[in-house]
Symmetry: C2
Subunit: 332 residues, 2 copies
């Protein structure tokens, strides 16, 4: 079996390295937080296939588009989407000015910490909560609120800042794909303006490569200076069948690799993997109650059922956090 | 005065080049289709300012975002937007199946070649025409129709394929900006799915860096395979105040350079140039009836009035095609 070697090391430099190091040691340098197993082998074989010059599955760099879901795929999403924690904190802060929220949903649920009711409202409910608490804000005011929150907020169970709850193996995969000429995109059901604030620092993904749900905005002058203002109207829900629509809208071509973790990612994986040529579809299965969380079919957040049932027939790789990841979160 | 030297030549390689060539000859290599004048000097000074390491106006590469209008800025737009010619040809081809079009606007105007009526309906009218003639098409069917049309269609007055009517000086500027670490974007009032078919070949701009007007689309299965279908509903009009909104939606950060040619680009230039730091705003003034077209305040297509009146006060450069461009179209 040919060893897994990053393309960036092939060619002249590789010959020198090979004379100095054993092959298994070299191979271990790629995706170090991944255990050797089917998931890692398939991912590396896919990357090698599409980058092999003259190979039958070669894909020109411009078409090496990889799309990643965010919540549950690039970072944790239990017990609630992290953006929901942001929205709840915001509702609590603004509650004194809104006595009516004590008796109106979804504000009542947010104030009471009723996660079940909130989760049942899905990505749309989340967006509505964020929308209501930030309507009239400029894009810059909203970004500042996210930056401020991210600095101090901590996950209620894991007792770490949310920004430390990204998945180390996925960060390594993003790097590996980019080192092999891929353009990496995030395609999230969460709000695009929230995620863009942190995507570069957390994942090396610039704002213009983040696709997400959005509210309508309006261009206007305030004190003579132009601003973009958030309106209390939903523009786009980037979830389920909305994900391929969002991808087409923004990227304008079909990805060759898609990674997700819930039925909300089903159509994104279907769209990506049903064209000819080498394609990669990966479903992250949260099955590690020890180190992270274990949930699938019955979860209100990140429900995974159809995509799990059909993964085999569709050639998608089901990644087991318990088995495939040596380390889950970044070292502190 | 320091000579204008492309950043890509600075450093070690430059020293060698300098010892072999005279400075004026070197300077002439940049933007060869541009005459020396205020417009060229300002553009080159801006690029130098934002790329000068340690300089007070230095901008990190990731934030070097340049946005270009398309119709009238990157290629001609008279006597009608080229996409309108595409739509008219399509209306004519489908007319036998639609007898009602003989008496219904804007189809009647399209069939009769009544450009004045069509132009008066603006980018929105154009989008509606394209929408009506392609509703129900998949994104791939639509792209194929554009590819087929572009192969054979010719400009009625200039007797050249539309694809030969790009502006050579602007293509050089796109290259120069990219060579200096800029990401170049097209922000067009025209349809994004039309423009993406040709943007890479004509301008070196990949589909994911094209922002434009759009119709809503829907994800569905046809014969078991997923497709993106065009719906007869407008999604977004990327014109006037819509341009900064489209930029914010798609890029998520503010450009530092904007180039346009009509009042439809006013807000895009205003948004770009009213932040602190070095900013470039350029208005292309079509004043060359000999080699291209001469029009501004009274034109139904690409009307330029407010942006021309306010350019001076706002620090925008008004580029005269007659004076600033040595060559307009690419050599055949």
């Amino acid at each position: 079996m040919k060893p897994m070697i990053p393309r960036s090391l092939e060619g002249g430099a590789l010959a020198l390295v090979l004379s100095l190091a054993s092959l298994p040691a070299l191979a271990a340098e790629v995706l170090p937080s991944w255990n050797d197993g089917v998931a890692k082998a398939r991912i590396l074989a896919f990357v090698r296939a599409v980058t092999e010059p003259g190979g039958k599955d070669f894909v020109p760099p411009a078409e090496r588009i990889a799309v990643f879901d965010n919540d549950g795929t690039l970072w944790s999403e239990q017990p609630m989407y992290f953006q929901l924690a942001f929205a709840i904190d915001r509702v609590k802060a603004l509650a004194p000015q809104h006595p009516e929220w004590q008796t109106t949903q979804p504000f009542k649920a947010a104030l009471e910490g009723d996660l079940k009711t909130l989760a049942a409202s899905g990505e749309k409910g989340l967006l509505e909560l964020v929308m209501a608490t930030h309507a009239g804000n400029t894009s810059e005011e909203f970004a500042q609120a996210v930056r401020d929150w991210v600095k101090t907020a901590r996950h209620p169970w894991l007792q770490r800042p949310y920004t430390e709850l990204t998945f180390q193996p996925m960060r390594e995969l993003l790097d590996h794909l980019r080192a092999n000429g891929f353009k990496t995109w995030i395609v999230s059901g969460g709000g695009v303006e929230f995620l863009r604030v942190v995507s570069e620092a957390l994942y090396g993904v610039p704002p213009e490569q983040v696709i997400g749900s959005s509210v309508q905005t309006k261009y206007e002058l305030r004190n003579g200076l132009p601003v973009i203002v958030r309106l209390p109207t939903i523009d786009f829900i980037d979830d389920k069948a909305g994900k391929p629509v969002g991808i087409h809208k923004t990227i304008g071509r079909r990805p060759i690799a898609a990674l997700g973790n819930s039925d909300g990612d089903f159509q994104m994986l279907e769209w990506t993997t049903s064209a000819p040529g080498a394609r990669l579809g990966v479903i992250v299965h949260h099955d590690d109650a020890e180190r992270e969380f274990a949930y699938d079919r019955k979860s209100h957040v990140g429900r995974l059922e159809r995509a799990l049932d059909e993964a085999g027939a569709r050639g998608w790789t089901v990644l087991s956090i318990r088995q495939d990841w040596k380390q889950v979160f970044p070292s502190r």
